[in-house]
């Protein structure tokens, strides 16, 4: 049996609003998978369901065949999941280093090892200069990186990232890309990457899912997605715009 994170046949509605209609998304261990879709498509909701912050109406979430339904977010973390938040959610009064190291402490890694993991993550994501400062004072972009660093220190089997590159500029995203690649190669974890930066997704992912209005619009190779008719009309529009500027 392949080792994978699977959200199978997920249905979710908030009252009358149907957000996810029978969505199945899988992430194999060691694989980077993209999740695309217009605003309000249900991407964050799906992440919340996988991580245990929302309960689906039906469908199951499992890791390596182990059913996670009904488990609390913290239990899912101990089962090998880690996530970042679309809105950052650092611990504002704690220092950046403390934020990062807590990722490891929380999943029960020894203090010594936790410190080493944190030091590596901090260095890898370029946070060394601010590591002793309280997280509250971070600029927007740095706080997103710190959130990512916090998630990776827990040595997860599967890492879900909700728009990690939002607020990073065209020069910083390549650095993020290589950092992600590093992490994946070292730990062999599977990654689910939510992004609106299609270029980043195309470069990082071996597969993408495209959600729109709660339905799965596309699943497959990222390059194919970029030219898919449905994806273009629902999501990308004039696709080049978001990527490289150049208004015609």
């Amino acid at each position: 049996m392949t080792q994978k994170l699977e959200a199978a046949s997920i249905v979710k509605s908030f009252g009358a609003i149907h957000v996810l209609e029978n969505i199945t998304v899988t992430v194999n261990k060691g694989e980077v998978v993209g999740l695309l879709g217009p605003n309000g498509a249900g991407k964050t909701t799906l992440v919340n369901i996988i991580a245990g912050y929302e309960t689906q109406n039906s469908g199951t979430v499992s890791i390596d065949g182990r059913n996670l339904d009904g488990l609390t977010p913290e239990a899912r973390t101990h089962a090998g999941l880690a996530r970042t938040f679309q809105s950052g959610r650092l611990f504002p009064e704690l220092t950046v280093a403390e934020n990062v190291v807590l990722g490891a402490i929380g999943s029960g890694i020894s203090t010594k090892k936790a410190n080493r993991r944190a030091a590596e993550a901090i260095e890898m994501l370029g946070l060394t200069a601010v590591q002793s400062e309280p997280a509250a004072g971070l600029s927007h972009g740095l706080s997103r990186l710190a959130g990512l660093a916090r998630a990776v220190t827990s040595e997860p089997d599967y890492l879900i990232m909700d728009e990690p590159a939002a607020g990073l500029n065209d020069h910083e995203t390549p650095a993020l890309l290589s950092a992600l690649d590093n992490i994946r190669r070292e730990s062999g974890c599977g990654m689910l990457l939510i992004e609106h930066n299609v270029g980043l997704v195309a470069a990082a992912c071996s597969r993408v899912f495209v959600l729109a209005s709660g339905e799965l619009l596309f699943e497959g190779d990222p390059q194919d997605a970029l030219v898919d008719e449905g994806v273009l009309s629902a999501y990308l529009g004039d696709a080049t715009m978001g990527l490289h500027g150049g208004r015609s």
Binding site: A51, Y53, T72, F85, R89, E98, A118, Q131, R150
Partner: protein, 350 residues
């Protein structure tokens, strides 16, 4: 990242044990206690009472400071501790005179202060654990009000139920501590416990839940379990404080631990800075000092040949105003919520 930094396990910006953070406050408390209590019997009395309050504030700090959940419930556990030690140590004859409706088996018991303290702490922690199982499901203001409800229930029960105490009366003749040293030792033990549990892995995780409970869960922190654990410890410490208070003043009654006590100790915590053990120490000292100075002024103080006497009633007024002023001046408390440090004088701005 240089290798020796890694080897010495000292990642800058990360919480870790520092001798000065523990010893600094202890030295301050011990030195101050001996110096002040040496002045006169009155000051010995004041010192002892303040140490009992300090233990309470430390008990509050360990829960409120680390979890960020406002709790009024610790006063209920102080009440439990005070009553427990009272019932265990008051002479049998006094119980017959004053506690006529007391449950028979309780009437006969009489033991020394030290075993009684241990039992009081255990009972207090037990009650905190029991109630914490439920109350710690709540957060924010709901938790604040629920713990407040706990205090009201405790007050109402202790104030009326003559089977387990003196009802609306005081329980007199609680044996007193013989020396100030006893209070000092207890306070130091509590300071060590509070500091160590605060910087422990669980303490750090609880602080993460304080900042953002939802994000903390994503790191694997069970908010409820952590809170229950710290609530229990805090309840045990509060019970110890209640018991120390009883052995300090020689009497105990439900109203000793009611709103006045609750808010005085909370104010001490907030004024010192709720997020550090040092804050609890500084807050307790600061509020006591202000109160004592005003008391002296009320009796007339001569400054540079000028006799200044405050009229009665102004003392309470000025203390309240001073507390509010400190909060306005330093909303994070006098220490800014940081632990003791030799480099930073504690009054430096955050």
């Amino acid at each position: 990242m240089s290798d020796d930094l890694l080897r010495s396990n000292q990642l800058p910006g990360v919480t870790r044990f520092k001798w000065q953070q523990l010893l600094g406050p202890i030295v301050v408390v011990v030195a101050l206690s001996y110096v002040v209590s040496g002045i006169s019997v009155t000051f010995t009395f004041l010192t002892e009472g303040t140490l009992a309050l300090l233990v309470m504030v430390l008990g509050l700090q360990v829960f409120i400071g680390n979890s960020g959940v406002l709790s009024f419930g610790q006063s209920a556990f102080a009440m439990v501790g005070g009553f427990a030690t009272g019932l265990l140590t008051v002479p049998v004859k006094i119980k017959e005179n004053v506690l006529d409706e007391l449950w028979e088996p309780l009437k006969a018991i009489n033991m020394g202060i030290w075993p009684s303290l241990v039992i009081a702490v255990v009972i207090g922690a037990f009650f905190a654990f029991l109630t914490g199982l439920f109350l710690m499901r709540l957060s924010g203001l709901a938790a604040g009000i629920a713990t407040f409800a706990l205090l009201m229930v405790a007050d109402n029960v202790f104030f009326n139920w003559r089977l387990i105490g003196p009802g609306p009366q005081v329980m007199p003749q609680v044996p007193k501590f013989s020396f100030v040293d006893e209070s000092i030792i207890l306070a130091v033990i509590v300071m060590v416990v509070v500091y160590l549990i605060g910087i422990s892995r669980r303490g750090r995780l609880l602080r993460a839940t304080r900042e953002d409970p939802l994000a903390a869960r994503a790191l694997g922190a069970s908010v409820w379990r952590l809170r229950v654990l710290f609530f229990t410890v805090s309840g045990g410490i509060a019970a110890l404080s209640g018991a120390m208070y009883a052995h300090h003043s020689g009497a105990v009654s439900a109203r000793d631990f009611y709103l006045g006590f609750t808010f005085t100790t909370l104010a001490m915590l907030v004024i010192g800075g709720a997020t550090s053990m040092w804050g609890a120490v500084v807050g307790t000292i600061a509020v006591t000092v202000i109160g004592q100075i005003l008391l002296e002024f009320e009796s007339g103080v001569t400054i540079g040949g000028l006799e200044i006497t405050l009229p009665n009633g102004v003392r309470g007024l000025v203390i309240a105003a001073a507390l509010v002023a400190i909060l306005i001046w330093r909303p994070k408390g006098l220490t800014g919520g940081r632990e003791f440090s030799l480099r930073l004088p504690f009054l430096s701005r955050p």
